[in-house]
Amino acid sequence: MLHNGGRTISEQAILVWRLTGGIGALVSGAIIGGIAFLIWRFDGPDWLISILAAAWLVEAFVWVVWLPPFRQKRWRYAIREEEMEIQRGVWSTTWTLIPMNRVQYVDVRQGPLLKRYRLASIVVFTAAAAHEIPALPIEEAEDLCRLIAEWAKVADEDDA
């Protein structure tokens, strides 16, 4: 297990997550605002509106301010010739170990937000599951993808 060893993902991930969190908060803000408006329009109790507002504030705070830096700090990965390890999670920490010769293929993925900050995610597929490392600098992601593909192949030949 990595226990905060290994490499971190890009610090800009914080920014990207803050933005996505912000967009999410806007969307849920619109929904909650709509509900609050209906409550007010039909003379619902005021305390219900304050509860809704408080819930929205908490949500926005958690997703925009509080969580992103923790997430970035907790994401770690290590890629070696025989295996790769991923560590993630704020509330619960998960360590994943994938032997290199089980890797079937690797994707480099980039959404519009990631692209804006020259970041990319890599997704590693085994026959049983997909494992993601989010928000790496694009060059690093491409290098890693090449490296994993190569090592996965080598390991495969050893196996046969």
């Binding site: 025989e82 360590w95 994938i98 089980r102 026959a127 049983a128 494992h131 196996d159």
Partner: protein, 481 residues
């Protein structure tokens, strides 16, 4: 065997029959919705068109479906509007299941379902709906030969598997009966029944029914309703028993060279062959009833699609078997697995967490029920100690066993599940710990095996043990076989 051939014409009937069976309920709904008051011939138009279309399509797709195979490939051509040619290398075929459904038996033919690599894409499955038994056998033999050719290209002529193999495991009629009785399939039937009823909601007046129900409830009808539900459950149970008996009748397991062949079924006979090399793990299920009598059921995790008609990757090896016989059966079928490993229990400090876990989602409903239906509702609070007791049982059962090349995880209570996986079939391993777990130095271990989404896990293993299981997979270069 180079010229193209068609399936036996009974395939049309089998195919159309299956389609029509799926159409019955929607058609009934349409008809009932259309003819609110009086019934006229117009209401029959839609169903008649649908039925005619299905029949025509059935015939057309039979005409268009051709298959052939040579020494290396199986070629299938199909499609009425879009032509599709598919060629599957014989050595890539992972499993074959041969079914004799009712239609097929009328014509003395069999249905062959073929499972090949590239299955995750859902493309590498072929069903030959009606071919003669001899042809199915020939195809099976060709596949075996193609495989041998690849495996031991150097070795001389492969031995042809033709002599009868002794049965490793059979199920007597009495055991079929007991297996069906204790299978717990009734819940599935009940769910199917509910789904069916909700489909019919268009023309069953549920609202009036519920109103009636309420007035009956408030009157003296509670007992009637209870009786009605009870008989519904019993009925579902009976259907499940019959289903299982049909399914598990004349159950035989054989091992032919490197293939496990399971034959079973009464009205519909089925033969499933799974190459040993494709087996990803062994799962032993014991529900509490069977455990009480010392019985278990054994499945193998198969790295392919739905060969057995149940979930993907799940093939039943023994529907019901005395617990002490399991190890020897597995020993013969899959000698690489060692079922005699001693399990390590979870640490004492995990016990309280196991007791509390069922309570988390029981406390609020129980208290609500107790409050609303005073004073008799207080009985609902008895659920809480019961939940804690189940938690303790689960704690006692949970455990893990590690040997140099195999990991076994055990969990559950109502349905105790033990999964054995060889190291080289573990696709990835996950250790995780929540904040609460970390405080108690506990962790959760979870492994992923083929096919996609198959996992086994144990909650609240000692942190150090979790780390040692993690390292076990890590240090694997040393003992690759």
């Amino acid at each position: 065997m180079t010229h193209r051939r068609r399936l036996h014409p009974i395939a049309i009937l089998a195919g159309v029959g299956k389609e029509l069976k799926n159409m019955v309920v929607p058609l009934l709904v349409i008809m009932a919705a259309g003819s609110r008051n009086d019934f006229s011939w117009r209401d029959l138009i839609v169903p008649l068109v649908a039925v005619a279309y299905t029949i025509v399509m059935g015939i057309l797709s039979w005409i268009r479906f051709t298959y052939e195979w040579n020494e290396d490939n199986l070629l299938v051509e199909e499609g009425v509007f879009v032509r599709k040619r598919r060629s599957i290398p014989l050595e890539r075929i992972h499993g074959i299941s041969v079914t004799e459904g009712i239609w097929q038996r009328m014509a003395g033919v069999v249905q062959v379902h073929i499972e090949a690599a590239g299955d995750a894409l859902g493309e590498a499955e072929v069903t030959l709906r009606a071919i003669s038994r001899e042809e199915a056998l020939r195809l099976q033999r060709c596949v075996e030969q193609a495989k041998h050719k690849v495996e031991n290209a150097a070795r001389s002529e492969p031995p042809l598997a033709n002599r009868p193999h002794p049965a490793l495991f059979t199920l007597s009629m009495k055991e079929v009966w007991v297996a069906s009785l204790t299978s717990g399939g009734a819940l599935g039937v009940f769910a199917a029944l509910c789904a069916f009823l909700s489909q019919l909601s268009n023309f069953i007046p549920y609202e009036a029914l519920i109103r009636d129900l309420q007035s009956t409830w408030n009157g003296h009808g509670r007992w009637y309703i209870a009786l009605f539900i009870l008989s519904l459950l019993l009925g579902a149970y009976g259907v499940a028993i019959v289903q299982n008996m049909i399914r598990y009748a004349s159950f035989v397991v054989r091992k032919q060279e490197d293939t496990i062949v399971i034959t079973r079924g009464w009205l519909e006979r089925k033969a499933v062959s799974v190459p040993v090399a494709r087996v990803q793990g062994v799962v032993i299920h014991e529900n509490w009833l069977r455990r009480f009598f010392g019985y278990a059921s054994v499945s193998i995790i198969h790295a392919g699609g739905r060969l057995d008609g149940s979930g993907a990757g799940d093939v039943v090896l023994c529907p019901l078997v005395e617990k002490r016989r399991v190890a020897s059966i597995i020993q013969t079928c899959l000698p690489e697995y060692d079922l005699g490993v001693p399990f390590s229990p979870l640490p004492k400090r995990a016990k309280r967490r196991y007791m509390l876990r069922p309570l988390v989602w029981l406390v609020i409903p129980a208290i609500l029920a107790a409050y609303m239906e005073r004073p008799w509702g207080m009985a609902a609070l008895l659920v809480l100690p019961l939940g804690a007791w189940i938690g303790i049982r689960r704690f006692r059962i949970a455990g893990w066993a590690l040997s140099s090349r195999q990991l076994a995880l055990r969990r559950g209570w109502f349905r105790q599940t033990t999964t054995y996986v060889l190291k080289r079939y573990v696709q990835s391993l996950e250790a995780s710990a929540t904040w609460w777990q970390k405080r108690k130095r506990l962790a959760t271990i979870s492994i992923a095996v083929m096919p996609l989404g198959t996992r086994a896990r144990v909650v609240d293993v000692d942190e150090e043990d979790a780390a040692s299981i993690y390292r076990w997979l890590q240090g694997e270069k040393g003992d690759q076989t």
